[in-house]
Amino acid sequence: MSKKSLDLTMKDPHPRPLSRSAGEGGRRPGEGPAWEPKIVAFFCTWCTYTAADLAGMSRMTYAPNARIVRFMCSGRVDPQFVLKAFQEGADGVLIGGCHPGDCHYQSGNYKALRRITLLKRLLKEMGIEPERLRLEWISASEGDRVQKVMNEMTAKIRQLGPLHVERPSPPAPLPSSRTGEECPQGGVRAKAEVQGGAR
């Protein structure tokens, strides 16, 4: 491993260098280590995830920039997950599902298509290039298509550059002395801890 530490701001449970060729492209003057596109991929277990498996077993090489998350269906991909990925530092989100008509649950992929169509418009208004979100139909036998889409997406994100989503800084916590026991009016906030879990 090179001495240069890579920017892994997205919380990765197994931090490791993203690319053996991290030196190429993406570096901006004064930005420190080279930037590598971070892509979160939501793949449906029946088609696209299986295709990614096939690509691996067939020893196809493709850009190692995506973290794949397996879903039961592309219809399970809530737009909140996409926004959360962007918020947490993803530069692109790729969603893979079965071809139209092939959904294991009959219509999940159509639902995904409808949501992503509208979500792209919303992203554009929010200042995020719609190209950062891509929906692809990849069947279980199309390992070569996984390779192609992953490479294309990585190249596209590399061209768009890093995404910077601003997050509000959390408010300062209350000093520890400010707890229920000290309330002059008889502990109005003390009961807060009785029931577990926010409703």
């Binding site: 909140q80 926004l83 995020i128 989503v165 509000p168 408010p171 309330c183 409703r199």
Partner: protein, 350 residues
């Protein structure tokens, strides 16, 4: 024992939340009987110095409405937090950002350019915009104004908040329940939104007329249709956000033939109201063809303004992304911005 002290304060808001307190009507007398209102700038003559003179935690509860836009609002939020045992975000703006939060589609510079220079009704040949410090020439006296922040924040993005009273404005029923819960010391866990945790459809009077499977071919806006006063508004093709919105308001808008716009925000399991509402509506669009569904969705003229009407600052993205790629709004005058705005809400020009 003296009565518990409470305070009310407003930040970036319209004043409707103060109205909601007055809307308690006769119940307000019960409240005043039970508590001492020690701070309420809109109605009573107490000053900031009166609050500063209090001991920490002297007030039992402060109800703060409005989003946080200026440095003064930040200071007041921090002051009230310090002096109150309970800080309650009152209304959509302090809960989720509210209507003022939609300004997060722009930044300070774009807003100043628009409001003080380029709006059609403004005459400002010298291009004067608000300054935080102004030195008066003759005597060297300096005037200070609060700083106008670049981004609107919710109350809980500024200080720690104990409870939330949602709504624009919060329904009287919920205010009464909250006050009673505080007085009787029957409060739920900290951080709770003091409203039922079910979607509005659940308590909607038109619930029975909602078909099992909704399929939207046409999305209409209220002025484009003569409404059936009994039938589910979604079934009539109106973009009603009831399925994604928290209940507790008894659906007054829907009773008045206006679709729900989502002011009570999401239920507790949803992290991003706009994304969830958008997801709910998009999946109802009755088309499986990519091109056709895009055309059908074009009928939603302003996705951010529709789905994030009350919750942009509280959303996962928080504000419009200022990326390395040039934005149509950033750092440009209203001329450019207006183009962007027109594109954003094309329907408004019709």
């Amino acid at each position: 024992m003296s009565k518990p002290k409470v305070g009310f304060y407003w930040c970036a808001s319209c004043g409707g939340c103060e109205e909601a307190v007055v809307d308690l009507a006769e119940d307000l007398l019960k409240v005043v009987e039970a508590v001492d209102i020690v701070f309420w700038p809109v109605a009573l003559d107490f000053k900031r110095s009166d609050v500063e003179a209090m001991k920490d935690g002297e007030m039992a509860a402060s109800f703060v409405n409005g989003a946080i836009r200026t440095s003064e609002q930040e200071e007041m939020a921090e002051l009230l937090r310090k002096k109150s045992q309970l800080l309650i975000a009152f209304g959509s703006c302090s809960h989720l950002g509210g209507i003022p939060g939609l300004a997060n589609l722009w930044d300070r510079q774009a807003i100043f350019e628009c409001v003080y220079k380029e709006a059609p009704s403004v005459v400002n040949p010298e291009g004067v915009v608000p300054q935080e410090q102004t030195k008066l020439g003759s005597n060297g006296y300096a005037l200070t104004l609060p700083s106008f922040r670049d981004t609107v924040r919710t109350l809980d993005q500024t200080v720690e908040v104990d409870y939330y009273l949602p709504g624009c404005p919060p329904p009287v029923k919920l205010i009464v329940n909250a006050v009673m819960a505080i007085l009787e010391n029957k409060l739920p866990p900290k951080g709770t939104v003091l409203a039922p945790d079910k979607a509005l459809c659940d308590e909607c009077s038109r619930k029975a007329t909602k078909p099992d499977k909704l399929a939207l071919r046409e999305l209409k806006r209220p002025h484009q249709i003569l409404m059936d006063p009994k039938k589910c508004l979604l079934a009539q093709g109106l973009l009603c956000l009831g399925p994604a919105t928290r209940s507790g308001c008894d659906a007054p808008c829907i009773s008045a033939n206006m679709p729900c716009t989502g002011c009570l925000g999401p239920t507790s399991r949803v992290k991003d109201y706009g994304a969830k509402a958008m997801s709910a509506i998009a999946s109802l669009v009755d088309s499986n063809d990519e091109k056709e569904m895009a055309v059908l969705m074009e009928q939603i003229v302003d996705p951010v303004g529709t789905f994030y009407r009350y919750s942009l600052p509280a959303s996962l993205l928080h504000r419009r992304v200022r990326n390395l790629t040039p934005s149509p709004f950033k750092g440009e005058g209203w001329g450019e911005g207006k183009k962007g705005l027109g594109e954003r809400s094309g329907g408004a020009q019709r």
